[in-house]
C-alpha cells in the first residue's frame, strides 16, 4: 500500500519521521516540514510503539501515522518499516526531535539535479545551546560542517549523510533494502553502501536542520556510545570495500587512527607528562584551539552568533575528552573483546 499525496508539492518527496516517545517534540518537527518553501507530498510518522501520546500528537499535527506491530528496536527499523508506503521519487529521513530551516528541502533538492546523486545532507546546528554538553556539540558541529564536511564534499566523498536529516532517491534506497540495523550507525552504513554501488552523495551546507542535542552527561554518554560503536561496526563491515574508494579510504583510515592516537593522548599521555615531567604539557589539550576557532568564528559570524560561539568554545574540550573515552572503549569492546553492541539506546 502506498499513500495518496497529502500536499500537491512540485517536489515528489515523502518525509519519514521515526518516533519513539517523542510527543514533546514531534509536532514542532512536523510543522517545520509543512512550512517549507518546498514542502513534501507526504509526512509519515512511524510511531515505534511509543508509550506516550506521540501518535495522537503527530496525527493532530497533520501527519500520517504508521505503527509497526512491535517495537522495531532501532531508528533504522522504524524508517525501513515506512519505506513500502512511499510512492514518491525521493524520500527524506528526519528525526522526530529535529526541525528544519524554512528553505532546507528546497536547497537540498538542488543536489538531485545531478542524476548520479543518490543521497544528500545538510548542516546541523543544535536547537538548544545552554548546557555545557550542548555548547560543546554546538562548537563541534560549527567546526565540522564549516570546514571538514565542505572539503569532503569538494572531493566527492562526504563521510556521512547525517541520519537526522537526509534526502535519498527512493529507488536507490530500495535497491539496498532501506536503512539497515546491522550497525548502530545506520546513516554511515547507508552512505558507504551507496558509494560502493557507485552512487554520489552530496553535502549542501546551506540546507540547515536543528536537532535537540543531549543536554546532560547521561544522554551524551548514550549517544556517543552508539556513535562510537556504530563507527567501529561500520569499519568491520565495510573495510574491504572502503579500501577501493580513494578519498574515502584516506578519511576512514585517518578517522580510525586519529581517534585512537588522540584518545590515548588525551586520556593517558598528556596527564602523565603533565604530572610527571612538566605541567606545561597540559597546554596540549588546547594547543589546536586556534585551528578550531577560525572556522567556528567564521561560521558563527555568518549566523550572527559570535558571542554564543565564544561563550561555548571552552565546552568543546571536555566534550572531546568524553568522545575520546567512548571511542577507545568502543574500539576495545568491538575489536579486542569482539562483543558487538546491538542495543539501540536513545540519547537524542
Amino acid at each position: 500500500m502506498t499513500l495518496p499525496r497529502q500536499h500537491p508539492s512540485t517536489f515528489p518527496l515523502t518525509a519519514i519521521v521515526p518516533a519513539f516517545n517523542e510527543a514533546p517534540s514531534v509536532a514542532e518537527t512536523i510543522r517545520s516540514v509543512q512550512e517549507q518553501t518546498l514542502p513534501p507530498c507526504n509526512i509519515i510518522v512511524v510511531d515505534d510503539c511509543s508509550t506516550d501520546e506521540t501518535a495522537a500528537v503527530a496525527e493532530a499535527a497533520g501527519a500520517w501515522v504508521a505503527r509497526p506491530p512491535d517495537n522495531t528496536g532501532s531508528k533504522a527499523g522504524a524508517q525501513t518499516f515506512a519505506l513500502p508506503f512511499v510512492a514518491t521519487e525521493y524520500v527524506m529521513a528526519l528525526d522526530a526531535d529535529t526541525t528544519l530551516a524554512r528553505d532546507a528541502i528546497e536547497r537540498m533538492s538542488k543536489a538531485f539535479e545531478d542524476p548520479e546523486v543518490a543521497a544528500a545532507s545538510g548542516s546541523v546546528i543544535p536547537r538548544q545551546v545552554s548546557t555545557m554538553w550542548e555548547r560543546g556539540r554546538y562548537v563541534e558541529y560549527l567546526f565540522a560542517f564549516s570546514f571538514y564536511k565542505r572539503i569532503q564534499d569538494h572531493y566527492g566523498k562526504p563521510l556521512i549523510s547525517s541520519g537526522c536529516f537526509s534526502l535519498y532517491r527512493t529507488d536507490k534506497l530500495r535497491e539496498i533494502g532501506g536503512w539497515s540495523n546491522r550497525t548502530l550507525a545506520e546513516d554511515m552504513d547507508l552512505t558507504w553502501t551507496l558509494y560502493q554501488r557507485g552512487h554520489k552523495v552530496r553535502f549542501l551546507p546551506d540546507a540547515v536542520c536543528y536537532p535537540i542535542e543531549p543536554h546532560n552527561l547521561d544522554l551524551m554518554r548514550k549517544q556517543l556510545r552508539r556513535w562510537s560503536h556504530g563507527f567501529v561496526q561500520n569499519l568491520r563491515l565495510h573495510w574491504r570495500d572502503v579500501l577501493g574508494l580513494g578519498y574515502l579510504r584516506s578519511m576512514v583510515s585517518l578517522a580510525f587512527w586519529d581517534s585512537i592516537l588522540a584518545s590515548i593522548g588525551y586520556l593517558f599521555a598528556i596527564p602523565v607528562l603533565a604530572l610527571l615531567v612538566n605541567g606545561a604539557f597540559a597546554f596540549a589539550y588546547v594547543l589546536d584551539a586556534p585551528v578550531i576557532l577560525v572556522p567556528v568564528l567564521l561560521s558563527a559570524h555568518s549566523r550572527r552568533e559570535v558571542g554564543r560561539a565564544l561563550a561555548s568554545f571552552p565546552a568543546y574540550f571536555p566534550l572531546r575528552v568524553a568522545n575520546a573515552l567512548m571511542v577507545l572503549k568502543a574500539v576495545f569492546v568491538e575489536l579486542v573483546l569482539r562483543r558487538p553492541l546491538h542495543v539501540y539506546e536513545k540519547g537524542h
Binding site: V124, R137, E140, Y141, A144, F147, Y148, R150, I151, H154, Y155, L159, I160, Q223, L224, W227, S228, F231, R240, L243, G244, R249, S250, M251, S253, L254, A255, W257, D258, S259, L261, A262, S263, Y266, N278, A280, F283, D288, A289, P290, V291, I292, L293, V294, P295, L298, R320, V321, N323, A324, M326, V327
Partner: protein
C-alpha cells in the same frame, strides 16, 4: 573529522592539506576546461580558511610565548609554530595513508590471483580410457 570522533591532529592536517591541494587540482581542471567560477570560489574559500588556521596557530604560539615571558621570565614554549611536531604528525599521516593504500593493493592482487582461471587438465587422446 566528524562529530563524535575526537581526533584533530591527523585529520586536521589532512584536511588543511586537502584544502591547499585543491588549488593546483582546480588549476589543472581549468586548463582542461572542466572548471567553473563557482568551483574556484569554493576552492579559494577552503584554501583561505586553511591558511587562516595556520596563521592563527602561529599567532597563538607567538602570543603564548610572549605572555609566559612577560609573567615568568623565560618561556619553555617556542614562539613560532614548532616544526618537529608538525613533521611528526605529517610522518604519521603518510604512514597511515600509505598503509591503507598498500592494504588495498594487496587485497586487489589477492583477489586477482583468486579469480584467475585455473588451468584445466585435458587428457591426451593417447592416454584416454576411451581408446
Amino acid at each position: 573529522m566528524s562529530a563524535g570522533l575526537p581526533g584533530a591532529g591527523l585529520a586536521g592536517l589532512f584536511f588543511i592539506l586537502s584544502a591547499l591541494l585543491a588549488v593546483p587540482i582546480e588549476a589543472v581542471r581549468t586548463v582542461r576546461g572542466r572548471s567553473s567560477r563557482a568551483s574556484w570560489l569554493r576552492v579559494t574559500r577552503h584554501a583561505a580558511l586553511a591558511l587562516a588556521m595556520i596563521a592563527a596557530l602561529q599567532l597563538f604560539f607567538l602570543a603564548l610565548g610572549e605572555a609566559i615571558e612577560q609573567f615568568f621570565g623565560k618561556s619553555p614554549l617556542p614562539k613560532t609554530l614548532p616544526v618537529a611536531p608538525v613533521l611528526m604528525t605529517l610522518g604519521v599521516l603518510v604512514v597511515v595513508l600509505s598503509a591503507a593504500k598498500v592494504l588495498e593493493l594487496v587485497l586487489r592482487w589477492r583477489s586477482r590471483v583468486r579469480d584467475r582461471p585455473q588451468p584445466v587438465l585435458v587428457p591426451s587422446r593417447a592416454s584416454s580410457p576411451a581408446d
